[in-house]
């Protein structure tokens, strides 16, 4: 819309016509206070804090509901306005308890801030305050009624934002109270919801508090570390609140209130609460070595020696092809890069793979290097039309679902859904096409122009509408495979401005594929036969395709796989591997827990998780983000460090593996932070090896130059990376000669309340699952 000119506190301002005064002022650096106003949600004008004086208006006006108009003259801080705000705060403080010293929100409470700014130094209120006991509404949500100032943010967040509508208002007047919506009168106050905790996040005071954080700490006692959630493939940015604990640094909360990053202020139940696996009592904090058939706790030196010897022996006796490596979907790009480099140059094998939850290899090949055809997660919030094929974002990719809902609400985007199930997002959809589970391939080729072939009559109009859409965003799940991917990509290429995204299930599933945890492809989908890496990697780099994950276990069963190195993965459980398969294989497992795979290992190395390390991850959409170290548990080490130490113990030249002498000296924040306790460990090791003390070989930053130089698609901006900005990566260029492959994709099958192996070790997530299992059972019984 055209700009209009108006005056605020004597300043001449311009903003597009229709902009709300409160927003226009914010952009110009004039802050207008408000409790009920929340950007992106519907308007309330209930708190009356944002009142301003507008010329020619008889009364004070609410800036949150007034659009700017040409020639408008506004005053935002006169005595009259200050008095109005002061009175509002005084009125609120009448019934509001003054329990700030114990309230969770103390120190970051909006009412507290307003009281400091406008409030009266003495209280006029001498009446009895209204009081009600605190209530627990769900495994994560507590409600402290007297603290509530009725701004209705939670109700709107839950209804408009989440499309859950679990909250409403009961009673009226001073008795008005936020309450869970229940089916029948008299039912207990329980939230029937997705447990996202957005209501708690939006609460300006301490009325809604979370079970994981309440009464634990104060905001100023924590470190606040911006990093990326470790759970699903959306890769939401999160700010973790951490504080000192008996065994290191404990994470006590996660949120994204500053709206930085790709996920707006959104976090789901997993991002917000499921970090407690880090402090699970079952966490491994001592290396284990199998002796006399039992796993016995040993020193790091003993464990690394045992692991290195086992791997070295297999390599030297039976050749590199007798060793296998399985990587992780939750480790960083730098770790994955290092792991494949370690496998290929130290172990001398291409037997490397990971648990694939989406076929990125096929996707990248189908794209053929065409630029601007892949979508960022950010596109989901602004694309004018979206086709969702397969998947259930509400359950599997909650941020994507949030983005689609927001886009529908704000921009009336047209959502087209093709799915074999009924999914919740259909409520926002313009059209839904229900197909059978086996028809995704048919659908993909139908969209590309083939005949309707049993998809039903509705399919024709569905395709016609899509053909008329410019800048369509196509998001598809792992239901679409092989030739289906080719067909869908071809369909996108036939439309103007259409972009694609393939969703996967873990935080770095895309990164694992990009970084070459693949038996036939080097990082950036470069065939192992290519010469591009040889100059850097040396002659040990094998030029023949290695064994994939399933073939590795087949080889183990035949007795051909002499050693297996598993990093942050649980293939035994995930792929249902028979325990006897590995009886003749020397197995080294790096993990947080004694998983089914670790139980079969000869050496188990306790590893740090994504919240305990620095690096980068790439989400499903190809958005690269920085991970920073937040938590710390004594007795564990990062996967990066463990790979380097193993290589060292195997007698490899560490400087060739990690060019730490040549790289940048920034350590991306906290890999050697004083609080982490790592500085000492590094210094000891470095001194022992006569190394320069400035840059550690355990510092993943050391590999950034090499990754940027060698990996197609990863020539990102270092500035943006270090500044914490997400950046959408170009797709790797087309490469010829990819081998024909079999489909190894196995979706995780995770729901909103599960998260692979990790989820099983999160007490809060387990509790939420149990609570919802009871709810579901009750529904079934009805």
């Amino acid at each position: 819309m055209a700009d209009v000119s108006f005056t605020v506190d004597g300043k001449q301002l311009k903003a597009p016509a229709g902009t709300l005064l409160i927003e226009a002022c914010k952009k110009a650096g004039i802050e207008i206070p408000a409790f009920c106003y929340y950007p992106g949600l519907s308007l309330q004008a209930a708190c009356r804090m944002c009142v301003v004086r507008i010329e020619k208006m008889p009364k004070l006006q609410t800036a949150c509901t007034t659009p700017v108009t040409e020639g408008m003259v506004v005053l935002t801080e006169t005595e009259e306005i200050k008095q109005a705000r002061k009175a509002t705060v005084e009125l609120l403080l009448g019934n509001h308890p003054l329990d700030c010293p114990v309230c969770d929100a103390g120190g970051e409470c909006e009412l507290q801030d307003m009281t400091f700014k406008y409030g009266a130094p003495e209280s006029k209120y001498i009446e009895i305050k209204a009081h009600r006991e605190e209530q627990q509404w769900s495994p994560v949500v507590y409600f402290d009624r007297p603290r509530c100032i009725l701004c209705y943010r939670c109700i709107r967040m839950c209804g408009e934002g989440m499309d859950v509508w679990a909250l409403g208002i009961q009673n009226r007047g001073v008795g008005a109270v936020i309450a869970p919506n229940v089916q029948e009168q008299g039912q207990p106050d329980r939230l029937d919801c997705e447990e996202c905790g957005m209501c708690i996040d939006a609460c300006p005071v301490g009325a809604l508090t979370s079970d994981t954080y309440r009464y634990k700490t104060r905001p100023w006692e924590m470190n606040h570390v911006a990093t990326v959630c470790t759970h699903c493939g959306d890769g939401c940015k999160t700010t973790l609140g951490v504080r000192r604990s008996g065994t290191g640094m404990e994470i006590v909360r996660g949120d994204n209130r500053d709206r930085s990053g790709i996920n707006d202020d959104f976090l789901c139940v997993k991002g917000r609460y499921a970090f407690d696996f880090a402090n699970n009592e079952q966490r491994l904090t001592q290396p284990l070595v199998r002796m006399g058939g039992k796993l016995i706790a040993v020193t790091w030196e003993q464990a690394l020696e045992a692991a290195a010897n086992g791997l070295k022996q297999a390599r030297d006796t039976h050749g590199g092809a007798s060793v296998g490596v399985i990587g992780s979907n939750r480790t960083t790009n730098e770790e994955n890069y290092l792991l494949q480099k370690f496998a290929r140059t130290v172990l001398g094998t291409n037997n490397i793979d990971h648990h694939r939850t989406a076929d990125y290899v096929r996707f990248v090949r189908a794209l053929g290097g065409e630029k601007d055809r892949t979508a960022s997660l950010r596109d989901a919030q602004k694309a004018p039309a979206i086709l969702l094929v397969g998947g259930d974002p509400t359950e599997q990719h909650p941020m994507l679902a949030w983005a689609l809902r927001t886009n529908t609400r704000h921009n009336r985007t047209r959502i087209y859904i093709a799915n074999h199930r009924q999914i919740k997002l259909e409520r926002q959809a313009k059209t839904t096409l229900h197909i059978r589970e086996e028809q995704y391939g048919t659908l993909a080729s139908f969209l590309g122009g083939a005949s309707e072939a049993g998809l039903g009559e509705q399919a024709n109009s569905f395709r016609e509408s899509l053909r008329g859409e410019a800048n369509l965003l196509i998001v598809f799940g792992s239901e679409v495979r092989a030739a289906g991917i080719d067909a869908l990509v071809a369909f996108a290429k036939s439309l103007p401005g259409a972009k694609l995204a393939l969703t996967s299930d873990y935080v770095n599933s895309r990164g694992a594929a990009d970084m070459g945890l693949l038996p036939d492809l080097l990082p950036g989908y470069v065939p192992v036969t290519s010469e591009t890496y040889r100059e850097d990697y040396g002659d040990r780099l094998p030029a023949t395709t290695g064994l994939d994950l399933v073939a590795m276990f087949d080889a183990a069963a035949r007795g051909d796989l002499k050693a297996l190195y598993v990093v942050g993965s649980n293939p035994v459980q995930r792929f249902g591997v028979d325990a006897a398969t590995l009886k003749n294989t020397f197995v080294v497992v790096q993990d947080m827990f004694l998983t089914e795979t670790a139980m079969l290992a000869d050496v188990v190395l306790p590893a740090a998780n994504l919240y305990e390390k620095a690096g980068t991850v790439t989400n499903s959409y190809g958005d690269l983000q920085t991970v920073k170290k937040a938590g710390d548990v004594s007795g564990v080490r990062t996967d990066f460090e463990l790979i380097v130490r193993l290589a060292d113990h195997m007698g490899a030249e560490v400087r060739k593996l990690v060019p730490f002498g040549n790289g940048t000296r920034a350590d991306m924040g906290q890999s050697r932070g004083a609080q982490s306790g790592e500085a000492d460990r590094h210094a000891v090791w470095l001194t022992a090896h006569d190394l320069e003390p400035k840059l550690s070989p355990f510092d993943p930053t050391a590999t950034l130059d090499e990754i940027q130089r060698l990996v197609p698609g990863y020539n990102y901006s270092r500035f943006d990376l270090l500044a914490g900005n997400d950046q959408h990566l170009d797709v790797a260029p087309a490469t010829a000669g990819t081998t024909s492959r079999r489909d190894l994709v196995l979706p995780s099958g995770d729901t909103l309340f599960t998260s692979g192996t990790l989820g099983q070790y999160s007490p809060k997530l387990v509790e939420v699952q149990a609570a919802h299992a009871v709810d579901d059972a009750e529904v079934a019984a009805d």
Binding site: A45, R48, L60, I128, V174
Partner: protein, 436 residues
């Protein structure tokens, strides 16, 4: 059925069919029933609005907005259906006039609704009765059914090409839904909380369509104004205050009841002549002229004419014309407490100043009345009320604050004296009182 009162000064327009069985459609037709609607159909929309403007009829709900002007704001063309909405949520304490119209002359409401519909081009009208008037719904619904049976409602009303439907509905007992946008929310089946304005109902109203909302008495006045002619109607009242008004007289008077008097009628005469004066020869202490939300007038201030403008000049409001007369025996402290109790109970809770302000005032006055007050409280009552004024989301906050300011300013001495006479209570009693 309550006894009807009468007085020779009355000018019976809206009330002229009261007590004559006009709820029966045949009786209504005998008394010029539906003549006005027919006239309106013949002359069309433009004519209706011009006549209404000329009649000087102003909204009888309390705000006194000119009816013809309100109707003219509705856009001629609209993608969404337009609606007429009759506000029969009569809840202002001291007011009981609409109740009589529904009881004695329901067809006048229907007829007025039809005319309003013709004026703005609506095809549907809603008649919304307050929750406590549930017993009137039967009468209203029978009248609607009879009008349908006669062909006055439905397809091609009165044999014309116009279609018009009328639907009646009751509230659930909230004063707040007397506010027009809260009423629309309630009618749509939602919580009765007001909407943000703009947009105003004339542009975006019920179900998002342009909507005209008129008080029941306003709507019932419409057929009369058209039938007698705008100029004739305007002559009845005072300057810029066309027509008559149903005054609900209550409190300490000999003959309480609803009287239809011309706009601008003397308040003094109303009390001492029409209603027969104060019983027992007691002295007048004060008058609340337009329902409980209007500032009280002291005995020395009642020499005014009762219309919107003269009341405003006297620092109060004509409001809903519910005249409450208080004699010398009334304790203003107690009266203030009773008044704020009502508003604290009826505040919808949406915005902070009204929700917290009414509660605080109620608690303070409860304590004050019980003997636990002090001089500071008087200032604080005024401070709170003044800080609610003009700051709330809807006029309910003003309605609660205005009378409080008047009580503590006009009767400050009485408040101070009360502290000397009322025996101080034990603190434990006060806790019980306040938390009860």
């Amino acid at each position: 059925m309550p006894t009807l009162v009468s007085h020779p000064d009355e000018v019976r327009v809206v009330s002229r069919r009261f007590g004559k069985g006009a709820a029966d459609i045949e009786k209504y037709l005998e008394m010029d029933g539906y003549q006005s609607a027919r006239k309106a159909i013949e002359n069309g929309s433009e004519w209706i609005i011009t006549e209404m403007k000329a009649s000087g009829l102003r909204g009888r709900g309390g705000a006194g907005f000119p009816t013809g002007l309100k109707w003219s704001f509705v856009p001629k063309q609209s993608a969404k259906p337009k609606y007429v909405l009759v506000n029969g949520d009569e809840s202002e304490p001291g007011t009981c006039k609409d109740h009589l119209i529904f009881l004695h002359d329901p067809h006048a409401i229907i007829e007025g609704t039809i005319i309003a519909g013709l004026a703005i081009g609506a095809k549907t009208g809603f008649i919304y009765l307050r929750g406590e008037y549930r017993y009137l719904l039967e009468i209203m619904e029978k009248a609607i059914a009879d009008a349908y049976a006669k062909g006055f409602l439905g397809k091609g009303i009165f044999g014309s090409q116009f279609d018009f439907d009328v639907i009646s509905q009751t509230g659930a007992g909230a004063y707040e839904v007397g506010e027009e946008s809260a009423l629309m929310e309630s009618l749509e089946g939602k919580r009765g909380v007001p909407r943000i304005k703009p947009p105003f109902p004339a542009v975006v109203g019920l179900y998002g369509g342009p909507t005209v909302i008129n008080n029941a008495e306003t709507i019932a006045s419409v057929p009369h104004a058209l039938l007698m002619g705008a100029v004739e109607y305007a002559k009845i009242g005072s300057e810029r205050n066309g027509g008559t008004r149903l005054f609900s007289l209550s409190g300490h008077v000999e003959r309480p009841g609803v009287y239809e008097l011309p706009m601008g009628y003397s308040l003094k005469r109303m009390i001492y002549e029409v209603a027969g004066g104060i019983p027992g020869g007691k002295q007048l202490k004060g008058v609340v002229p337009g329902g409980s939300s209007t500032p009280i007038l002291k005995a020395s201030e009642i020499d005014i004419g009762m219309d919107f403008d003269q009341c405003a000049k006297a620092g109060t409001m004509l409001g809903s014309a519910g005249v409450v007369v208080l004699d010398e025996t009334v304790s203003i402290v107690q009266f203030a407490l009773r008044t704020i109790k009502f508003y604290a109970h009826e505040s919808c809770g949406w915005c902070i100043p009204c929700r917290e302000g009414t509660d605080w005032l109620q608690k303070t006055l409860t304590r004050y009345h019980a003997g636990g007050g002090n001089l500071k409280d008087i200032d604080n009552i005024r401070y709170l009320a003044e800080n609610m004024m003009g700051r709330t989301f809807c006029p309910l906050g003003d309605a609660a604050a205005m009378p409080m300011i008047a009580f503590v300013t006009k009767f400050r001495q009485e408040f101070e004296d009360y502290l000397k006479t009322a025996p101080p209570k034990a603190k434990s009693d006060l806790v019980e009182l306040v938390t009860a």
